[in-house]
Amino acid sequence: MSTKIKINSQIFQDSNNIYYPKDETEVSDLIRELYKQDSPTEIIGNNSKSFIGNKTQSANTTSLSKISGIIDYRPEELYIKVKACTPINEIEQVLSENNQELAFEPIDFGYIKDGKSNKGTIAGYLSCNYAGSRRFKVGSVRDHVLGFKGVNGKGDIIKSGGTVVKNVTGYDLSKLIAGSFGTLVALTEITLKVLPKKDSSKTVIIYPNNFEQIYDFFNKLSSSSSEISGAVFIPEQSNDKEFSVKRNNVFKFNDLKSKVSFVAFRVEGDKISIEEKINNLKKELELNNSDISTLDVYQSEPFWKKINNLEVFEKTEHNLIRMVIPPANGSKLSKYLENKHNYFIDWCGSLFWIEVNSKKEEKIKDLKKMANDFGGYLTVIKTSSEYDYGEPIFTVDKVRLMISEKVKQSFDPKRILNPGKMYRGV
């Protein structure tokens, strides 16, 4: 028996020839073997976000889904250490029992994929680095990772970071792994910072008259010392009946006039300070004579879930774009998008979710140019069946691509892990 068969025979392979290593050692053995054979592999978790990124062209598929389970949870130390493919739901449930949470508010991509909730695994989250509505206040997934263990493209088990928040020992590889789409290491263990859940929340809805007013609200909200933890703009798109119906259904709340454009902002904390902050903000935004609605905690919580589930784009078959720009340019972008593409704005004016319903990739090219001109970037999160990848789905400049190639080389010299998932040649 050759070494190759001997090693691989210990690792479970299903009828589709997908490898299922059950622990870190098996991941290391497998990748070491693939490295020897120059045979790349796609890395997957439970497949909730595998539609994001380019299709990898590799002979093998490795699923890390069996590497799952909580290793060490210390509520009083505010951290949880888990095996890499522990489902987000499992983590959130355990944290919730101790009144804690993942503050970065994981997005549920299951709704846009096939209309069903599927938050996937923490390794998937870290690999994509897509945080929800609270991001502009608490940071992204990368800001909540304290350390990791994983296997690089040569089969070496490596680690970085630890369980403490203050740590500058060596390069901060946890940051580099965040958003690397599994192209640098196959993750096996992740330590996350957790935070106490807020006692309560309320959401205030404002109905603006024009685009200038939307960004005036966003600017005042992000400048206030009465902290908010979410601010979105949901436009009315009268030219697309189908979308309007969907949108109105998603945002059907007792206290919300869903058929018109609205800005919603969330205040969290103890009940007394929520009232105090809302009163302060009403003054700062000069809302005392305006038409506003307030969603109590029972409406506020499901409202933000719907935002973070991207439910207005449920089962979309069009191209779905995630664009991040400095908020000062948001007003120009929303004017451009009006009645052209369906969209909504999150992160108090920075994050645009845009549905591009055109077969022509020219439209995406135009948007990418705008993103670059505005000092931001875009990613095509979900592609329509007609998308031919003529226009890359990620935004990268030449110098960053050159450095990315070097970094990739240092982790995975033979490009064994998820080759081409992000950029050609990486």
Partner: protein
């Protein structure tokens, strides 16, 4: 401290000094190139002043293009480069090398843009940390990370070290508070990571650079996030009769769900030292002093103070004082901020350590340090960022006494090993630099270190940028059995190690 191993000196570079100085003078104003002994003296050390080295020359470029040209020249001529910000680093990260030029960023001292709409400031790296807050505070904003050297330390240095400070518990360290950097690589390539928007797509190269201690590139511009000054900030000064009770109270505050803006602990030795020095009015009968700062809206802060009071009383605090004015709040901090100079007044020298431990292990760590202090017969005072587990023991010694120097080194090293044993790390915010290189093997194995060296090699193939820092000397690690050396061959034979 006693004996310092440095990269092998390249005599061919030393012999070419006058030619190199002449060539550098063509790349920037000749006034910006220093090469005479008396001109070089101020640059011989950083804030870890027990180590000194005279650089080959000092260059003080004035713009990014000059930095790029200088690095390009050094790259092609195989000349080592040590970057330096304000020189306030405590781990020797900016210690010069005899055959290297010291690249000082002191002339990059301008704020380039204040953008309130995007809540950010674009600045050159030589601007001080506090300088950023000063530029925006009249509009009610500030820059959150606040290392205690914030008056003098530069934002570029903060990026290199990923500096924290008292408020990093709630607001994060430098890496969580910057949006973009412009950087020059060793071969002269100018690159930009991030900008004014959140979360650059692709590899988080800004995250990699932040805390890389000047080994991967020279930062020439930084875009930082600014935050709104909180409506109300109040601090509480709480004394405890024992280390355990104070430590438990600090842990309980965090686990109850409160996230204070800052939470500091000082032990009896430091309470006395700082109170003598700054007359802060600390409770001198206490064994341990806890300072808790809370911020937010008025009712939010009042609510939190009630909770903190209840927890401290439950843990038998011996005194509790709340700040009732901004002046009083600042006076609470005056002692803590004077911790280092206060120790400086008590002994000819002090050596500041910087480990991180899990919060719950505080009492254990302090007791262990006390034992070590008795063993080495050297006094120690402790301050501690209790909220995030970052411990700063200050060992007092006489640097002129060789034996004391040696003992201090050993003592410090044992403290950091204790931190690792308790589940922590060897440096929380000061960086590894030259000081803690050998202790890297306490935390990382061969694979971990080789991966990091491999990143270094991919971005600085000739190992010219700040060599000799952060990563251990092969010999020492091999002695400790951590680095696998096969037939005396290193995995990366081209990486010059020493």
């Amino acid at each position: 401290m006693s004996e310092l191993a440095l990269p092998k000196i390249d005599n061919s570079i030393l012999n070419r000094k006058s030619e190199i100085v002449k060539n550098l003078s063509k790349l920037t104003d000749k006034e910006n190139v220093l090469s005479e002994a008396d001109e070089l003296r101020p640059y011989e050390t950083d804030a870890l002043s027990v180590y000194t080295q005279t650089p080959l020359a000092v260059v003080l470029p004035e713009n990014t293009e000059e930095v790029s040209e200088i690095l390009k020249y050094c790259h092609s001529e195989n000349i080592k480069v040590v970057p330096r910000g304000a020189g306030t680093g405590l781990s020797g990260g900016a210690l010069p090398l005899q055959d290297a030029i010291l690249l000082g960023l002191g002339k990059f001292n301008k704020i380039l843009e204040i953008d309130y709409e995007n809540k950010c400031v674009v600045t050159q790296p030589g601007v001080t940390n506090l300088g950023i807050t000063h530029a925006v505070q009249h509009k009610g904003f500030y820059y959150a990370p606040d290392p205690s050297s914030q008056l003098a330390c530069s934002i570029g240095g903060n990026v290199a070290e990923n500096s924290g400070g008292v408020h990093s518990l709630k607001y994060g360290t430098t890496t969580n508070n910057i949006l973009g950097v412009q950087m020059v690589m060793m071969d002269g390539t100018i690159c930009r990571f991030g900008g004014k928007s959140f979360d650059q797509e692709g590899y988080d190269l800004m995250g990699l650079i932040c805390g890389s201690e000047g080994l991967l590139g020279v930062v020439t511009e930084v875009t930082v996030k600014i935050l709104r000054t909180p409506e109300v900030v109040r601090a509480a000064l709480i004394g405890f009769p024992s280390i355990k009770e104070g430590g438990d109270a600090a842990s309980e505050i965090i686990s109850s769900g409160i996230v204070p803006a800052g939470m500091e602990i000082m032990d009896k030795a430091l309470i006395e030292a700082t109170d003598n020095f700054s007359k802060a009015g600390y409770p001198r009968d206490a064994e341990l002093l806890l300072i808790v700062e809370l911020d937010g809206t008025e009712s939010e802060v009042n609510e939190l103070i009630k909770k903190v009071e209840a927890i401290c009383k439950k843990n038998n605090c011996s005194s509790l004082k709340l700040s009732n004015s901004e002046k009083e709040r600042l006076s609470f901090w005056a002692g803590r901020k004077a911790a280092f100079p206060a120790c400086g007044a008590m002994a000819p020298d002090y050596y500041c350590m910087d480990g991180s431990i899990p919060r719950g292990k505080l009492a254990e760590a302090l007791l262990e340090i006390k034992k070590l202090s008795e063993k080495y017969e050297l006094p120690v005072a402790n301050c501690f960022h209790a909220g995030d587990g970052n411990l700063h023991p200050l060992i007092m010694f006489d640097g002129n006494d060789k034996e004391q120097l040696r003992k201090t080194e050993e003592f410090g090293s044992e403290i950091l090993k204790t931190c690792v044993r308790l589940g922590g790390v060897i440096t929380g915010e000061h960086g590894v630099g030259i000081e803690k290189r050998e202790l890297m093997c306490e935390m990382f194995n061969d694979n971990d270190i080789q991966q990091q060296l491999s990143i270094k090699k991919s971005l600085d193939e000739k190992n010219l940028l700040n060599p000799g820092k952060v990563y251990p000397i092969l010999r020492k690690c091999a002695e400790e059995g951590r680095v696998h050396v096969h037939k005396n061959k290193d995995k990366f034979p081209d990486l010059p190690r020493f």
